[in-house]
Subunit: 458 residues, 2 copies
């Protein structure tokens, strides 16, 4: 199986120089979305996990080291990718499926709609998780088990073959490394997909998890699932090469939200929203570098539209990344915003975030409530272990402060990157707090946040 990985890596790294020509046609888009993957990639500094294909993609493209999801929940985050809007604007306030049943608003001018109108062949392969179809009219919705990544690549091969010379936008929704009903889907064998296991003793435990065997094993299982996704990315890039589309295709790899462990997914702490974003364009000049710009997932849709030559709707708050692909620390990219309302429909906990290079300001609009748990995180070995042992700490953060939060949180990330010491009540920080409050309010008003305009209109 190892040879399969090598093959994919080879295909990515040794593409001929001609392919990289600056005058290559801007045409196709492949957007690869991991499900619940954090910054656990070799190219993002994790030395224990194996992600050779994503590392190779980063080497051939640009890795954004300060990329932030707008929200740490699957449907809302994907809706921000496909609508270019924050979740309080696009209406996808929470999960789309089952009892949750959240829908994006009919007024949304979505990515598939705009690309369809521009003559693109659009398709989404695997996980979609935003509704309704009328708002997101993908030309094709191709069902496939998103962990069976060889099959995913073959479905992509078929789509690209059918498209012929027409421009296309293919979105691939992987199912890894999301939790399965039990574990991370690692018990199943997937055809032509290597099984890469990890030693629980040899994982990089993040600050918000307890150093306990159950949490370590949980994380090792997550690594295995993440590596399966990485393998899928390698296969997908080989499909592009085989179809001779590499020189005309913008490839974007991204995750929807942080890891499915307490302290990450569904929070607006960095562990929930600071995520991988790798862009590889055939026309970029510098490759293999990190770009320090603070970019938001609402920038992804303007980037794709820019690539496709389609005018972005004026209401979009984001900006195209294409002009800064070759830069390392572009000016004017120093703040991102976040907006969370729900995950499951029972999990009301609206939050707002302003995040600069040095500080984070969080507003917990329903702070009177206990912070709610996603079912999968609640039932995880990690959290059940915390409950069983009666732990007071969740890694470096107290369980109490995780569950019961104040109205406002302010963190100085230069001294406190793990967001453990809330400075909102510190008189020495009053000026910073005041500025960030104003910044947040201006953003909320500009983006017509319903949680602000309440009581001012019918």
């Amino acid at each position: 199986m190892r040879c399969l990985i090598c093959l994919a890596v080879f295909a990515v790294m040794f593409r001929p120089a001609a392919v990289r020509a600056a005058d290559a046609p801007k045409k196709n888009v492949v957007l690869l979305i991991a499900d619940d993957m954090g910054l656990d990639l070799g190219c993002y500094g994790n030395t224990r996990i194996k992600t050779p294909n994503l590392d190779a993609l980063a080497k051939n493209g640009v890795r954004f080291s300060n990329a932030f999801a707008t929200v740490s929940s699957c449907s809302p985050s994907r809706a921000s990718l496909y609508s270019g809007l924050f979740s309080h604007s696009n209406g996808q306030y929470g999960l789309a499926h089952a009892d949750h049943n959240f829908h994006s608003k009919p007024t949304v001018k979505s990515l598939p709609r705009l690309l369809n109108d521009a003559g693109y062949r659009t398709a989404i392969l695997g996980k979609n998780h935003v509704i309704p179809k009328e708002v997101y009219p993908w030309g094709q919705e191709i069902p496939v088990n998103g962990r069976s990544v060889f099959l995913v690549a073959e479905k992509a091969r078929q789509f690209i073959s059918e498209v012929g010379d027409r421009p296309f936008c293919l979105v691939v929704g992987y199912a890894d490394p999301h939790r399965a009903a039990r574990g991370f889907g690692n018990e199943t064998k997937y055809p032509n997909v290597p099984e890469v296991r990890y030693d629980a003793a040899n994982v990089e435990l993040p600050y918000h998890l307890p150093d306990q065997p159950d949490a370590r094993q949980d994380l090792a299982d997550y690594y295995q699932s993440a590596t399966r996704c990485d393998h899928g990315v390698g296969l997908m890039l080989k499909v592009l090469d085989d179809a001779k589309k590499t020189d005309s295709t913008l490839v974007i790899f991204i995750s929807d939200n942080g890891i499915p462990f307490p302290g990450a997914k569904t929070t607006l702490y960095d562990a929930g929203v600071h995520l991988p974003l790798i862009v590889s364009s055939p026309v970029q000049k510098k490759r293999g570098r990190a770009n320090l710009a603070m970019v938001s997932f609402v920038d992804v849709m303007p980037t794709i539209l820019d690539w496709a030559g389609v005018k972005a709707p004026p209401e979009l708050p984001g900006r195209s990344l294409l002009p800064i692909l070759d830069e390392q620390n572009p000016t004017g990219w120093d703040v991102v915003y976040g907006s969370h309302q729900f995950h499951e429909v029972t999990m009301y906990y609206p939050m707002r975030m302003v995040r600069t290079r040095t500080h984070k300001y969080l507003l917990n609009l329903a702070h009177q409530l206990e912070f709610p748990f996603a079912s999968d995180i609640y039932n995880s070995p990690t959290w059940q272990g915390v409950l069983k042992r009666g732990d007071k700490m969740l890694g470096q953060r107290s369980v109490e402060s995780f569950l019961h939060r104040p109205h406002e949180e302010l963190y100085d990330l230069t001294k406190d990157p793990n967001e453990l010491k809330n400075l909102a009540g510190d008189p020495a920080q009053a000026k910073v707090l005041d500025e960030m409050r104003k910044q947040m309010r201006a953003w909320q008003e500009k983006t017509k946040d319903p949680w602000v305009v309440k009581y001012t209109h019918e």
Copy 2:
């Protein structure tokens, strides 16, 4: 204009005896829905308001004196009428329009779908307020200003004329007595609709409103709007008579939720959910009586399906009222349930209710939050007056206890019909409390309440 009212009343009261024959064909349905109307009808004991047409309808049919909405919010309540399900089951957790964007679940087998399948011509005229269309596929959605009640009746006349001899189900969504952007739409003149004004000194002030000029005038304006709706009902019944459909049509009059004043609409107090329900069937034997059965709005859909000879889906919790139309105090109708989640999307406040003839038990699932205000109620002259004066009381209830509620509320309605003295902490009531808790839990499990099963499945 007075003569127009008389004409309509005449049409209702003096329908020929032949029309009432027990063997008349069960065929058509007319469901008339007032918007935000409380029990402010002459036939329900209000001596100050003029509702001659509804009084006449009650005289010709049966007035349910213990009818309860499942929820006091427009879209969720209407969804319970059209789905036969509680709002936590049908997915219509809150308002359907604008930013709120709540949708019923695709699994709902709705009234229009079942009637369409049975060969009925279905239509909804005026206010609908549930989505999506795929779940509620009314044969026609006929737009009309729901306060222009003469026009409403004429649109109904046209629909019934086009239907010919085929069975039909016509739902009429009036816009009265809902608040308008300003007031109750009373400034506008509506063609062929009399203007009936009320003296603010001469209204029946409910227990939950302050005896202040602003609240009295607000209520007088509401009365005017309610009387306009009553006039519309008279016109509608005349249309039925003109079309010779009275002897084959089941007529139901209902409201969606309580009056749009603080203490009523959006609460599960009786002022929010104890509402008018008048049924007039050509085959009933006893007329003009009150029926004391405790009935729920989830009983409306099974009633209509029973009338139409269509089998009700087994998951429906309600029962047909047809077998008890001629009774006064039938056995086995002694408890109703309520389920509220939202009104506007910013107004998360899930509540559950068990209401027997003697007691009410309320569960406030997010009691840590301040009870949220609907925009229209917040901006009403009544509430703005309370704020301006800094009132401590909202009628007989303290503002503080209205805004900040305990987890559980228990009221002995035999001694405390206005639900002012919470007995949930009273040791003498421990047995009653325990029984009602069990009753609620059993109902929640039976109806698959997502707010119960949380954490027990993914």
